[in-house]
Amino acid sequence: MRVKLNYRFDLEFSNEVKDHRFALKITPRKTPFYRVEEFVISLQNNIYINNIIDGFGNVITFGTINNYHKSFSVEISAKIDFFSEYLDFQDDFLNEMYLSATNLTTSNIYINEYLNFKNELKIYNNIEKNVLLANEYIFQNFKYESGVTDAYSSIDTILQSKRGVCQDFAHLLIAYLRDLKIPARYVSGFVTGEGESHAWVEYFNGKIWLGVDPTHNRIIKNEPYIKIAQGRDALDTAINKGSFVGKSKQQLKVFTKMEIYN
């Protein structure tokens, strides 16, 4: 199966900014289930970029724009050939690294339902069953809605409001799995359709890492998922981080389109 991905974001500044530095995580990772046949990253002219790999194996594209500017756009296009079922291998870390709770995957307030379900899961001493149950539970009990949580929300926000986006669904699943001592990592990337980038979870089944998507209540098998970045939680995978000189508000527009083309 071949897919075509176009992704673009436009950052508009209310006032001109300068000395802009950015770090993008936007390059598809290498995986054992797809091959990247073509990948192009397009930026405005006269931007020098430099690629480096972080500890998680994510590609960071670092760049600078020194002159005054009012907008910043990044566009990528990729053609990817999926030739096998979704799976991945251990990265450079011991799998135990993905058992430690992070700030975003920790609940700091007493929420009865959360604790009850945690205990309920402990009855089953079976990784596959636990993953299925937790995935299903999150899909059934939480509503997909943007604007309730933000990029820095911990699972307490989704637990209290019962609403969130893919990032929150993924964090919640990670919290349940790590609590059961199942190594779980956060993955950002793209799925077919239009809209925004996506996030899901990988867990270690004792041999390999498999994908699970609580937003779609899906154990990922043959559906095309393009992996961009992975880490302990969303903070390890942010698509764009920037710093600049100038007092300015920012407005972000994102365009994504991923389709199967043969």
């Binding site: 600078t64 390890d236 710093s243």
Partner: protein, 452 residues
């Protein structure tokens, strides 16, 4: 109990004959030269001079030789540990340290896994805190500081004044010279440099140790810079000058914590770092002094494992003791801690500078039982230590000699060789009976003399 040695007696014999008014001359020096320590208290800055006591802490040279070997051994092992943790993690695979202790630490930086540092050095400057145990007469390690240890400039500058005010003492006593420290720092920076100039990066003049940043930059011939003087281009770091020229930086003694170093990687609102610096570090194009992620090695929970590290990496017995420490994480230790909490010191592993330290004997029954509950709930968060009875040092306060609790921070520079500075920062508590000597808790300092 106050520590005595023949060298200290010799000091008093000379000192007692001299005019006490000279003490005022020495104090005036500390005021004139701006030896200040800024305290951040109740939401505002208090700039105050760092209290100084005229009676030096004297350590006999043969005793210091043992300390020297012990500290070289310890820093060597800690450096190997950091290289291991950011590459193969053998010490976890071999089950010397439980994985959880490393991975759950906030100071662990997996995003920098695999980064190779120049000449495999990460602990370029260590500040190791010790006390001398009065029960067994042995030095004991309290804490390793491998991130941005401060304080070296205070004894450096006071010694100059001391020699001027009390030349007779230095004529009659064989005190080890200390002026080599800046030279050793400069040599170390040159040794690890990736090519280019040396820079000291300071958060600016509101930082509690700004005096020291400026002083050390001057003494080591490095350029003192703030974040906005520096710029990342491609994968290298440059110092900008006003005429638009750029000079490549090869080694940077950064006096900022990891969290503030690079807004693209750490706290996004940090205004004092350099955007993109972490990628220069990843590319191997800068020697950062000290390296990023060192906090995993001076974590209070990891402290427990340092003697094991020394055996594991060096196949040697530790020369200097750790304080007897318990980890509630281990079942037996938890039991001991809960049963003996009233005589233990409980430390929160995430806190530093004397914050988050609880003395069991000072707490009420209700407080103790609350603390026990927290320990049971979050065993990884705490360590417990026996209260060590350490020697008092003699201080000259309000015209009389009084005993005060004190510790010693030894500085170790790791370049071509591992150099233990023949001085250190002796800190003492201002009030009688107080065990907390940290500068941020209002302690004072003394000069430290290594005497033949």
């Amino acid at each position: 109990m106050t520590e005595k040695n023949p060298q200290l007696e010799q000091f008093f014999q000379i000192f007692n004959k001299l005019d006490k008014n000279r003490i005022a001359d020495l104090k005036e020096f500390t005021n004139n030269f701006g030896i200040n320590f800024n305290l951040f208290k109740d939401g505002s800055f208090i700039e105050r001079s760092f209290p100084f006591d005229v009676i030096p802490r004297i350590i006999p040279k043969d005793e210091f030789k043992v300390l020297e070997r012990g500290l070289q051994q310890r820093v060597k092992a800690l450096n190997i540990f950091l290289n291991d943790i950011y590459s193969d993690q053998k010490i976890i695979k071999d089950k010397i340290i439980p994985a959880e202790f490393v991975f759950s630490s906030k100071a662990y930086r997996p995003e920098f896994h695999g980064v190779k540092t120049s000449r495999s050095i990460r602990t370029h400057i260590s500040g190791i805190d010790l006390v001398k145990n009065s029960a067994n007469n042995r030095w004991t390690i309290l804490e390793d500081n491998l991130r941005v240890p401060s304080g070296a400039s205070y004894p450096l500058s006071i010694r100059q004044a001391y020699r001027k005010v009390y030349p007779e003492i230095f004529e009659q006593m064989n005190v080890e010279k200390i002026r080599y420290y800046p030279q050793k720092l400069a040599e170390m920076m040159n040794y690890v440099s990736t090519g280019g100039i040396n820079v000291v990066l300071t958060p600016g003049r509101y930082n509690s140790a700004f005096y020291e940043h400026a002083y050390l930059a001057k003494q080591t011939d490095a350029i003192l810079a703030v974040g906005s003087d520096l710029e990342v281009r491609d994968d290298k770091l440059y110092l900008k000058s006003f005429d638009g020229k750029r000079e490549k930086v090869g080694a940077m003694y950064r006096r900022l914590d990891d969290d503030f170093l690079d807004p693209l990687e750490f706290k996004p609102d940090s205004m004092i770092g350099v955007a993109g610096l972490s990628n220069v570090y990843r590319s191997g194009n800068i020697a950062l002094i000290n390296s990023i992620g060192n906090g995993i090695a001076d974590d209070k929970g990891i402290y427990y494992f340092v003697p094991k590290m020394i055996k594991y990496y060096l196949n040697e017995e530790p020369i200097i003791d750790n304080a007897p420490t318990y980890l509630p994480y281990f079942e037996n230790d938890m039991k001991y801690v809960l049963e003996n909490i009233e005589k233990l010191v409980i430390k929160d592993v995430a806190e530093a500078g004397g914050y988050g330290v609880l003395f069991g004997y000072k707490m009420s029954a209700v407080q103790l039982s609350d603390l026990k509950e927290v320990i049971k709930r979050e065993p990884r968060r705490f360590i417990a230590q026996e209260l060590i009875e350490f020697y008092d040092v003699e201080c000259f306060m309000n015209g009389e000699i009084v005993p005060r609790k004190s510790d010693l921070r030894c500085y170790v520079a790791y370049g071509e060789e591992i150099y233990v500075w023949t001085n250190g920062l002796t800190r003492y508590a201002l009030e009688a009976g107080n065990y907390l000597v940290n500068s941020s808790q209002g302690g004072g300092f003394k000069d430290t003399w290594i005497v033949e």
